[in-house]
């Protein structure tokens, strides 16, 4: 049953990254046409690392997460290219049964709306215990005991009593904690958090992020945080992948990306947040609207909204330029963008 997680004692050169997504392509085929939701996305994450995936809705970040998790609705969705490797094993080439075992044990996910993500008709303790009963073959009482321990661990007060309650009897924050408890039950290598705090109050958001950070440290798992909250990214992420129109347009260390963005879209995002140190200056919103996935602009997908636009941008889609070590940008004129930000 155990998955061959890489041994800590292995020699570094033998180790491939824990999760490695390469040139992933996902399409949605609907009556209205084919939409390229993910168009060549690559990234890696390793144990203990936090990768933030940022972008507007429709940028393909959730679809990427679903493809990694193997919960994409197929059809209409279809993975048309690329590879997803977990511990060096290709997830896309696996049998359905092998793939199922990776879910929950190797990679797990929490969603934005915990109320609809939990089954309304079963007690939350039962839903957590189900992980142990199915994956570990644990007895009912053993699984229940473990479920209560997990609820304690995610700081749900009075866990033993509340394990018998149903999802609708909890507050939004508590429900998200239950989702987290379920996701970490089997000690997965990677936890994907798909906008975990978007539906919550601001104070609760902070508590949930704190919990995620705490658990990541304890368990040493990799965290993929999908969000459009730039503040959260700055707080917890190590690296960031900025997505636009189904592509990663900038891939960088968080510090670098925030200090000196290498893509006009990242730059626009950063300029659209209010800064305390620049009181009085105007906020810069990004003009225009995100592209329709059905009808991508030719060339660079961002060109209709871009200040750096030239002739090339309209005709030629930019490749991923290597900007520095572990740093890439999909902009023909990344150097200009970098230079513009030098004074900031």
């Amino acid at each position: 049953m155990a998955l061959n997680l890489p041994d800590e004692n292995e020699r570094p050169e033998d180790r491939s990254p824990l999760l490695e997504v390469e040139d992933l392509h996902v399409e949605f085929r609907t009556r209205a046409g084919t939409a390229e939701a993910v168009n060549g996305v690559s990234f890696t994450v390793d144990r203990g690392e936090t990768l933030a995936v940022m972008g507007e809705s429709g940028s393909g970040k959730s679809v990427t997460a679903q493809a990694v998790m193997g919960i994409l609705d197929m059809p209409p969705g279809a993975i048309t290219g690329g590879s997803i490797r977990f511990c060096g094993r290709d997830l896309l080439g696996m049998s359905a049964e092998e793939r199922r075992r990776v879910r929950g044990e190797g990679v797990s996910i929490i969603f934005q709306d915990a109320l609809s993500a939990l089954n309304p008709l079963f007690p939350v303790g039962w839903q957590i215990a189900e992980m142990f009963r199915v994956h570990r073959g644990a007895s009912r009482s053993e699984a229940n005991k473990r479920a209560v321990e997990l609820m304690d661990r995610v700081h749900i007060p009075d866990a033993r009593r509340r394990a018998g309650d149903y999802p609708h009897q909890f507050s939004g924050g508590m429900r998200q904690r239950i989702m987290i408890a379920m996701a970490i039950a089997l000690d997965p290598g990677v936890l994907i958090a798909d906008e975990p705090t978007t539906a919550l109050d601001v104070t609760v958001q902070a508590q949930i992020m704190e919990l995620l950070a705490e658990l990541q440290e304890e368990l040493g798992m990799a965290l993929i945080l999908i969000t459009h909250d730039l503040g959260v990214v700055a707080d917890v992420a190590d690296r960031v992948a900025v997505m636009y129109g189904g592509r990663v347009v900038e891939y960088a260390d968080v510090f670098d990306a925030y200090r000196r963005p290498a893509h006009p879209y990242t730059k626009g995002l950063l300029e659209s947040i209010p800064r305390l140190d620049q009181v009085g200056s105007d906020l810069q919103a990004i003009g225009g609207t995100p592209p329709s996935l059905m009808d991508m602009p030719l060339g660079c997908a961002f060109h209709p909204r871009c200040h750096y636009r030239r002739e090339t941008c309209v005709t030629t889609p930019p490749p991923m330029y290597t900007v520095g070590p572990e740093r890439a940008s999909a902009c023909h004129f990344y150097q200009e963008v970098l230079d513009d930000h030098g004074d900031r």
Binding site: A32, A35, S57, V63, Q66, P76, G77, M294
Partner: protein, 302 residues
Amino acid sequence: MSEPASLTSSAGEAPRGLWDDAWDELKRRPIFWISAGLILVFILMAAFPQLFTRVDPRWADLSLSMEPPSSEHWFGTDRQGRDVYARTVYGARASIVVGLTATVLTTVLGGLLGMIAAYRGGWVDILISRGGEILLGLPFVLGAIIILSTFAGAQSDAGPATIMMLVIATLTALSWPMVARIARSAVYAVKSADYVNAARVLGAGPMRILFRHLLPNALAPIVVYGSLLIATFVSAEATLSFLGVGLRPPVISWGVAISESGDFIRQAFYLTLFPTIFLCATVLAFVLLGDAVRDALDPKLR
């Protein structure tokens, strides 16, 4: 999840857009055209039976009793020697008139009462909702059997028009609460929406608010339910007539014809067969139409 959903959803929020989309959706379905065509034929048959036969359905020639189908009498003749084809054609009128009239009355009455209940609230709402609940406690054909059989004895000398009105009134009386419930919840959902409040502040009267602002919201679910209701009513009318509490001779009706032919099913199966085919084709056409309308107006179910 949100990404693929936003790709496929094309239905607009405005009522105008909803109806346009629904029509576009309907136009593309062959089933819609087939059922609409069938229904058109039956409506023509109900309105102008002379177009389909020149034979008088009441003309009896006892010397021609129980003739099997022939080139002279396509569907044969019944025991009184009447032409079954003519009687089957003329039978469309009862089904179509009862089905359509009862549906229109039910949706209008139920829709109005439901909207008023939601709009006025208070004791009006309680009265309408509770009253409706009582009627919903009666399974509707069973309720119709009770109502019609108490009247049937007392009004045994009633003319065809009176009997038909009685059947229509009974079906309507028992079915409006479901429509009212649908209309009520649809109106309730938008009753305190900003645009309604805005209209109120701008001095729109209750009638204007009801018809201009609240009705469009309730219309789609009512139309969906109503289009499914026609088939139920046609079938219910036939069942009641078959039982002998609905339409009765001299009204010419498929239910009555099937009921009368029962005694001769061994010798003359065609007597049962032809009215049955017409009845089932009518119900089928309305079921198909109702399905198509529902699918078109309720994108959620697609």
